[in-house]
Amino acid sequence: MKRFLFCLAAMLVAASAFAQVPSVKVENSKGETFDTASLLEEATPMIVSFWSTTCKPCIRELEAIYESLPDWLEEVDFRVVAVSTDDSRQLAKAKSFAEGRGWGSDFTLLFDKNQDFMRAMNVPVVPHVFVIDAKGKIVFSHTAYVQGGEVELFEAVKKSVRK
């Protein structure tokens, strides 16, 4: 069973290894239209994290990233993009929530109110994180969050730079 799960996971990683970031229109924190393809213009690695205000593991994961970020940035140059999947009920709240946590200063905040970007990236549930290398290729992704899982995420970021 363990071998089957390992092989299945390995196949999924292999299949997603050549996936990229599609062009989808979302909102930035000012409510303006933002094309997700433009995330690749900076050509630096990034963590893309899908979250919502009603998803507690998502918030715990982003908080863990936020707390560790100053130390991580001393080792590797990369960005964090937090994509809220809250619909219009929670959209304004999600922006205030992110500001109330100080994320706005350290993360690029995007808002995917009809879950178009989430669908295009084939994210079935949140939390879901991707590590995207400087060439725009998805090199790591992970669904769900267990406290402490951010260590594995940062290892993937470092690996994406070494490649």
């Binding site: 997603s16 205030s96 946590r101 706005g104 549930v125």
Partner: protein
């Protein structure tokens, strides 16, 4: 033998990955979600599998499964979604065994324009005039099948237009396959069609302003639904085959201050009346939404106000119950409850369901909410060494009378909550919450019965090592109404990065003395998550994105799997 097959599969995938990287044949991506329940009879919970409409011939197993696959090659994309119900989980719209193709699309995206043919989702503004979306938790999928075109002039002007047929109703014979057959609400196409257009102009980008963000937006939507011949009285009652609605919107943001205003005229909306007029009459529907606030310097403040009058905006208005008229999924727009969406067990017992004005005695609702988030920074007196986060919310909603006025309006829902999150040490973090809810009897919303509940929650997380952590939730609900007092607890132990186990219990010690216990384990690795559990679930409402659906009580084991590739 099995090992050999697995090894070949792994190698084939690796080879495919390598080949695709070299030749740039594009890439395939997808996701799989499978939710399975095995039900057991539970007299105390008043749950009998044999009495569930979809569980027949002694069957106690049900499963909802979704497979989505997309292909991307430069500007071209195409995809499909398959859904299988064998049969649907208890509480979902009733179905026999079904396997069907639910979504299929092909799309071309250039720098300034795009064209999509097949199924697609879209939304105008906040969705009050039009929204098509998928919510698997609710069993809702009102995707349109048709054509959509978009055009954008740089990032200054965006235009889109579409025509399509909403999904809903009976499954077509030609998509049932592999021995599966039957009806499933949400599959199949309606005989309704909609056409819409939306224009967004960024004034600030046109004028080259950086600090100020200002945009004007507008939408128009036409829905066509034939009036059945035997319903000729509907025309006398003002019902139309073609209904046109429109909306205007203004968005502004300056240095953290923001304002968003939306006015919607939904055209003629259909209200349920006694049988004298075939049960329907038409009235004008309209809604106003205002959001304003400030985000900056660790403060997030949002004030929201909304008024809705006759905003039911259904897909089907004139057809009977055979086509799912009464279903929560019979909607073309999004009218969520504008109140806090709670997540702790005891805070979700009495969710608010918004009043859209589909019943003649109440034309809709009016109300507002205030949300404030504040981050006490590190090093401040209250923030301490590691900072402290505070959130408070207040919302209050009232009914509109038959004419849309506020005379004689009644309280529908009111709540207040405050939560404080504090990281005490590197290892210990806590969240304390207090919540008060004045709630109306669900759906009837007569204003004659208001219950009050006070809930306190303590949520504590302790990191034993970098990989081992535990989380404890303690909750208490105090009330003199309904089932009186409740208490609840949850213990979760996490073994990073893969494993998590939990056990919880929700006990109604004020009335029924019933325990709603639950225990489970989950494993996640890369894009794969598998979770299994066993528990007793209370009858109530699943509310997702502001839409609520009644679910019956049930007891049983569940196994869920999500994977993406």
């Amino acid at each position: 033998m099995k090992k050999t097959v697995l090894a070949i599969l792994c190698l084939a995938f690796a080879a495919a990955a390598s080949a695709q990287e070299k030749k740039d044949w594009g890439y395939v991506t997808g996701s799989l979600e499978s939710n399975n329940n095995l039900y057991v009879e539970d007299v105390a919970n008043d749950f009998y599998p044999s009495m569930q409409p979809q569980l027949k011939d002694g069957n106690t197993f049900a499963s909802n499964d979704y497979l989505k696959v997309d292909y991307y090659k430069d500007r071209l994309s195409a995809g499909l979604q398959m859904e299988m119900y064998s049969p649907t989980l208890v509480g979902y719209p009733i179905s026999e065994n079904v396997l069907a193709l639910s979504n299929l699309y092909v799309s071309w995206k250039d720098k300034s324009y795009s064209v999509t043919a097949g199924t697609f989702y879209d939304q105008f503004g906040s969705g009050l005039l039009f929204r098509s979306w998928e919510d698997r938790m609710l069993g809702l999928n009102n995707a349109l099948l048709g054509v959509r075109a978009t055009y954008g002039w740089e990032d200054k002007i965006a235009f889109k237009a579409f025509w399509g047929i909403p999904r809903l109703g009976k499954i077509s014979d030609n998509v049932a396959m592999m021995g599966y057959e039957g009806d499933f609400f949400g599959f199949g196409l309606t005989d309704v069609n909609v056409a819409g257009a939306d224009l967004s102009i960024s004034i600030s980008r046109l004028l080259g302003m950086d600090a100020l963000s200002l945009s004007l937006e507008g939408s128009v939507l036409n829905k066509h639904e034939a009036i059945p011949v035997d319903f000729e009285k509907l025309s006398e009652a003002g019902c139309l085959e073609n209904n046109i609605g429109w909306s205007g919107r203004l968005n502004m943001d300056y240095d953290g201050f923001f304002f968003k205003g939306e006015y919607v005229d939904a055209g003629k909306q259909i209200v349920s009346v006694p049988a004298a007029m075939n049960g329907r009459k038409a009235e004008n529907g309209n809604a106003q939404l205002v959001e304003l606030g400030y985000n900056g310097n660790g403060l997030g403040l949002t004030v929201t106000g909304r008024r809705m009058q006759r905003m039911n905006q259904r897909i089907y208005n004139y057809n009977g119950s055979d086509n799912g008229y009464e279903s929560a999924a019979n909607m073309l727009s999004y009218r969520p409850a504008m109140s806090t969406q709670y997540t702790y067990m005891l805070t979700t017992l009495n969710p608010y369901s918004p009043q859209v004005g589909d019943k003649v005695i109440k034309a809709g609702e009016i109300g507002g909410q205030i949300d404030a988030f504040y981050n006490f920074r590190r090093g401040t007196k209250l923030g301490g060494k590691r900072g402290m986060k505070v959130h408070a919310n207040f919302s209050s909603w009232y009914s509109l009378n038959e004419n849309g006025g506020t005379e004689g309006s009644e309280l529908l829902y009111r709540d207040f909550s405050i939560d404080v999150e504090k990281q005490w040490t590197k290892k210990f973090k806590s969240t304390l919450m207090y919540c008060m809810q004045d709630y109306n009897k669900h759906h009837e919303m007569t204003g004659r019965y208001i219950g009050t509940a006070h809930v306190v929650v303590a949520d504590m997380l302790y990191k034993w090592t970098s990989k081992l952590s535990s989380r404890l939730e303690l909750q208490y609900l105090s009330s003199k109404d309904d089932q009186k007092d409740w208490m609840a607890g949850l213990l979760e132990v996490n073994f990073a990065p893969h494993w998590s186990v939990f056990a919880s219990d929700m006990w109604n010690h004020g009335d029924t003395k019933l325990h709603y216990y639950n225990a489970g384990v989950s494993f996640s690795m890369s894009n794969l998550r598998v979770a299994a559990g066993y528990g007793r679930y209370r009858a109530g409402y699943i509310c997702s994105g502001g839409v609520c659906r009644a679910i019956p009580a049930y007891t049983g084991a569940n196994l869920s799997l999500t994977a993406s590739f």
